[in-house]
């Protein structure tokens, strides 16, 4: 796979500073090869879990809240880091992050995945996040891990 043939770069985002860095690096590569950036946010909950008709919510707002709003904010933040001329698309998926990301990459023929080394879930002593680690194991395309 030649860099010149990189058409689509997948950047999973979660709003962490590492994912911001990943967006920045992906943008540099995308600009050089004229690729499209796919920003992907994965949520554990589908928007219909916060159905307003069901008044009883057994999960607090801070957890379920408005997933639509959270995904919008995070994706908008990611977009704000991209230079104007770049072609991009934003996506939201529901599920287990690593699985959803790999699924997306397969379905959309992603040529390169750019991901932060760590995300929001920082555990002391772990230098590489669990999601990044799993993506690395399962990805079929090259993975750029941004420190």
């Amino acid at each position: 796979m030649c860099m010149q043939m990189v058409r689509r770069i997948l950047v999973p985002v979660d709003g962490s500073c590492h994912s911001d860095k990943a967006v920045g690096e992906a943008a540099l590569i995308a600009a050089a090869v004229d690729a499209q950036i796919d920003l992907l946010y994965v949520s554990y909950f589908a928007p219909d879990t916060d159905d307003v008709l069901t008044k009883v919510s057994w999960l607090p707002d801070s957890v379920v809240g408005s997933t639509t709003k959270t995904s919008q904010l995070i994706l908008e933040h990611g977009l704000s880091l991209l230079p104007a001329q770049l072609s991009y698309k934003t996506h939201v998926a529901v599920g287990i992050p690593a699985t959803a990301i790999i699924e997306f990459a397969k379905e959309n023929e992603t040529d390169l995945i750019v991901i932060g080394a760590r995300g929001l879930g920082i555990v002391e002593g772990f230098l590489l996040g669990s999601v990044s680690q799993e993506i690395l194991d399962l990805a079929q395309c090259p993975v750029l891990v941004v420190k």
Partner: protein, 147 residues
Amino acid sequence: MGCSRILVPVDGSENSFKAAQQAIDLGLCCEAELEFLHVVNLGSSLSRSQANAQQTKDTSVLEDVIDRGRKILDQALDLVPETLKAKGHCVSGVPETAILQEAQKCDVIVMGTRGLGALRAVLVGSVSSYVLNNAKCSVLLVKADKK
């Protein structure tokens, strides 16, 4: 990213040459300088018994190993187009340590996930894993082809 120096560890495996090609493509995108690195792991080349044996035998094993290393570097350098600056470097030591040492002068490391030493079942080899976890710079990992 400040991608002006790319470190490319090569061990002669197919995966490492695939990574080398990827590094060349990245280098062309970013107009970077490439540094191919081959680490001669003396520990695995010389058994204890050989080390205790005649001195002359030891020297020829060492020479053979370094010679093989140089050939690998030459093979990698042959892939580089004239428009790109690249050099090859052969050092001895523990691969992961030597790679991290050289990486201090580089902006990104491009390497395979599985080299000569790894079993087929291993998705990410021990050297790649160690380098990925401990590098301060970004690491682009090139997956081995499924066979």
